[in-house]
C-alpha cells in the first residue's frame, strides 16, 4: 500500500517535470504561432527595445522585449498577405518543394540500393568503404560546401538546383541509416528465399522493401526536413532571388516585417509538421539498433 502511494507520487513528480519541460520546448512555436496572428504594430510594441516619447514621459529609462502569447486583437492580415496578396511566398515555397522532393526521393532510391549492395556483397574492402561513408557523413556542411562547389563548377551546374540536389541524393546519411536497418532483418528468411530460387532482385523487392517500411518513412522524413530547411547551400548556389527557397527568405527576418515572417514560418512548417505527425512512430522503429558495425 505504502509503496504504491510512493510510486504514484514519483509518477506525479515525473509527469509535472515532463510537462514543464514540454512547455519550455513548445515556447518558440507558441511565440511564432501567436505572432503570426498579431498586427505588425503590436509586434513592434512587444519586441522593440528603443524608447518612445511616451516611455520617456513615463520616466522609463529602458525597455525590454516581451514574449506575449495572446494576440490582441487577433488578425489574419499577415496570412492574407502571405497566401493571397503576395504570390511570391507561394512561389518561394514551390522552390523549396522543387529542391526537397527530388532529394528525398532520389536519396531514398540510391540509399536503398547502395545499402542492399553493402549487405549482400561481402568483399574485402567493404567495411573500410563504409568507414569512409561515416567520415563524410560526420563532416560539417561548411567543409563539404567547397567540394560541392568545386564539382558543381566542373560540371557547369552552379546556379542551378542540381548543384544542391545531386550531392543531396548521394549524401552518405541515407546509406548509413538504411544499412543500419537492413542489419536487423532476419537473415534466415533470405536464405530460405534464396534456396527457393529467388534472385537478389526479387528478394530486394518482395522481401527487403516490405520489411523496411518504417526505415523508409524515417529516411524520407529526415531528408525532407533537412532539405526543406536548407540555408547555406542555397545562399552559395542560388543567386537569383526568385529562385531561392523559402527557408532562405525566412532567414532574412528583419524589423518591420516580423509578423509577415511569423505567418510565413507557420505556413512553411505545416508540411514538415504534418510529415512528423504521420511518421512519428516510424521514426522510432525505423532506426536499427543492432549496432554500427
Amino acid at each position: 500500500m505504502n509503496t504504491t502511494a510512493f510510486g504514484n507520487r514519483k509518477n506525479l513528480v515525473s509527469t509535472v517535470l515532463l510537462v514543464c519541460l514540454g512547455l519550455l520546448f513548445l515556447l518558440p512555436l507558441a511565440v511564432t504561432l501567436s505572432g503570426s496572428f498579431m498586427s505588425e504594430g503590436e509586434i513592434t510594441l512587444n519586441y522593440t527595445t528603443s524608447l518612445s516619447a511616451f516611455d520617456k514621459l513615463d520616466g522609463l529609462t529602458e525597455r525590454f522585449a516581451g514574449l506575449r502569447l495572446i494576440p490582441s486583437p487577433v488578425t489574419l492580415k499577415q496570412y492574407a498577405t502571405v497566401l493571397i496578396n503576395q504570390p511570391a511566398f507561394l512561389l518561394l515555397m514551390f522552390n523549396s518543394i522543387k529542391i526537397a522532393l527530388p532529394v528525398t526521393l532520389g536519396s531514398l532510391i540510391i540509399s536503398m540500393a547502395t545499402a542492399y549492395g553493402f549487405t549482400i556483397w561481402n568483399w574485402r574492402y567493404k567495411e573500410a568503404l563504409f568507414i569512409v561513408y561515416i567520415v563524410v557523413m560526420l563532416m560539417p556542411l561548411q567543409a563539404v560546401l567547397v567540394p560541392n562547389y568545386i564539382i558543381a563548377d566542373a560540371l557547369g551546374i552552379q546556379e542551378s538546383y542540381l548543384a544542391i540536389i545531386l550531392p543531396g541524393i548521394f549524401s552518405p546519411f541515407g546509406v548509413f541509416l538504411m544499412r543500419q536497418s537492413m542489419k536487423a532483418l532476419p537473415t534466415a528468411y533470405f536464405e530460405a528465399a534464396r534456396i527457393d530460387g529467388a534472385g537478389p532482385m526479387r528478394i530486394f523487392f518482395s522481401l527487403v522493401i516490405p520489411q523496411m517500411k518504417s526505415a523508409i518513412a524515417a529516411l524520407c522524413m529526415l531528408q525532407f526536413i533537412e532539405y526543406w530547411n536548407l540555408v547555406e547551400q542555397a545562399v552559395i548556389f542560388i543567386k537569383d532571388y526568385t529562385k531561392e527557397p523559402l527557408s532562405v527568405y525566412l532567414s532574412r527576418i528583419a524589423e518591420g516585417r516580423v509578423g509577415l515572417i511569423f505567418a510565413a514560418s507557420c505556413v512553411f512548417l505545416f508540411l514538415p509538421f504534418w510529415f512528423l505527425l504521420l511518421g512519428q512512430k516510424d521514426l522510432e522503429k525505423g532506426i536499427e539498433l543492432s549496432g554500427v558495425k
Binding site: 514540454g22 561515416i134 530486394f204 516580423v258 539498433l289
Partner: protein, 281 residues
C-alpha cells in the same frame, strides 16, 4: 574453373558509389591537393607551408578549440538528458504526445527561431527583462563567456527529441524477460537500471553519439543567424572560420582546414567504432 561472374551486390552498390565518389571523394581529394598549393589556379607546390601558417593562425586555433569544447560539453550532456527523458516518458500514457512535442524543434525554420532566441537573449531581451524585474540585473548573454552555454542550450533544444527517439527504440528492444528475471531475483529498479538497461543501450549510445556529432555541427546555422560572422570569441567555431575563409576566397587556408578536419574525424570515427565493437562483445 573459377567463377568470374560479377556478384549481383556490386550492381546494387555501383550507382550510389559512383555518385558518392564524384560528388564527395573526388572533390575532397581535390581539396587535399589544393592544400599543398599556393593558390588553386596557377599555384605552385608549397608542401606543408599552408599547414604551418594555418597552425600558426590564432583564429583557426580558436575555432578548432571552441568546436572541441562545444562538442565535449554538448554531446554528452545531450545524451544524458535525452536518455533521462526517454526513461521518464517510456511508461507514460501520453508518451506519443510528449515525443511529438520534443520533436517539434526539428521542423521549425532556423530563421524565425534565430529571431526568437534574439528576443530572449539579447541585452534588452525578455530574459533580462525578467531578471531585472527580480532585481538580479542584466546579463550579457550573447557577448560574453555565457554565449557558450546559450549555444549548448539551443543545440539541446533542437536535438534532444531525435536522440530521445533513438533511446526509446533502444529501450524498446531490450527483452522484457531480462527485467522479469531480475525482478524474481529481487533486484531493485535502480539495480535493474544499472545492470540491465544501461549495458543493453551501449550500441544505441554509439549511434546516438554519432548522430549528435553530426547534429552538433548543424547548430552553426542558428548561431550564425543569431550572432553573425564574428560572434563573441567563446563561440567562434571552426565553421565560422571556414565560412569566413570561403567568403574571403582564401582557398589555401580553407582546403587545409578541411584536410585536417577529415583526419580528426577519421580518428574520431575509428574511436567510436572501436568503442562499439568493445561494448557489443
Amino acid at each position: 574453373m573459377k567463377n568470374r561472374r560479377i556478384p549481383p551486390g556490386f550492381w546494387f552498390l555501383l550507382p550510389g558509389l559512383l555518385g558518392f565518389l564524384l560528388f564527395y571523394i573526388l572533390p575532397f581529394g581535390g581539396s587535399v591537393g589544393y592544400s599543398v598549393m599556393s593558390q588553386p589556379v596557377n599555384g605552385k607546390f608549397v608542401g606543408v607551408q599552408n599547414y604551418l601558417s594555418l597552425l600558426a593562425s590564432p583564429a583557426y586555433l580558436r575555432g578548432l578549440w571552441n568546436t572541441v569544447k562545444f562538442m565535449g560539453v554538448s554531446v554528452p550532456l545531450n545524451m544524458a538528458l535525452s536518455l533521462g527523458v526517454a526513461l521518464l516518458i517510456r511508461k507514460k500514457r501520453h508518451r506519443e504526445l510528449f515525443t511529438l512535442i520534443f520533436l517539434i524543434p526539428l521542423v521549425l525554420p532556423s530563421g524565425s527561431m534565430a529571431f526568437f532566441w534574439r528576443v530572449v537573449f539579447s541585452y534588452n531581451g525578455a530574459l533580462n527583462g525578467a531578471l531585472q524585474g527580480l532585481g538580479i540585473g542584466k546579463v550579457n548573454w550573447l557577448d560574453s563567456a555565457l554565449a557558450l552555454p546559450v549555444m549548448v542550450l539551443i543545440f539541446i533544444w533542437k536535438n534532444m527529441g531525435y536522440n530521445m527517439v533513438l533511446f526509446l527504440s533502444g529501450l524498446h528492444s531490450i527483452p522484457m524477460e531480462y527485467y522479469e528475471a531480475a525482478w524474481v531475483d529481487g533486484a531493485s529498479p535502480r539495480q535493474a537500471l544499472w545492470s540491465i538497461t544501461l549495458p543493453n543501450l551501449a550500441a544505441t549510445s554509439v549511434l546516438v553519439c554519432i548522430m549528435s556529432v553530426v547534429n552538433s555541427f548543424k547548430v552553426f546555422r542558428e548561431i550564425y543567424l543569431l550572432t553573425g560572422n564574428y560572434p563573441h570569441q567563446s563561440i567562434y567555431t571552426l565553421q565560422h572560420f571556414m565560412n569566413n575563409m570561403f567568403a574571403s576566397l582564401n582557398y589555401p587556408k580553407l582546403t587545409t582546414a578541411t584536410t585536417i578536419l577529415v583526419c580528426i574525424i577519421a580518428v574520431l570515427t575509428q574511436g567510436l567504432l572501436w568503442l562499439e565493437r568493445r561494448t557489443s562483445s
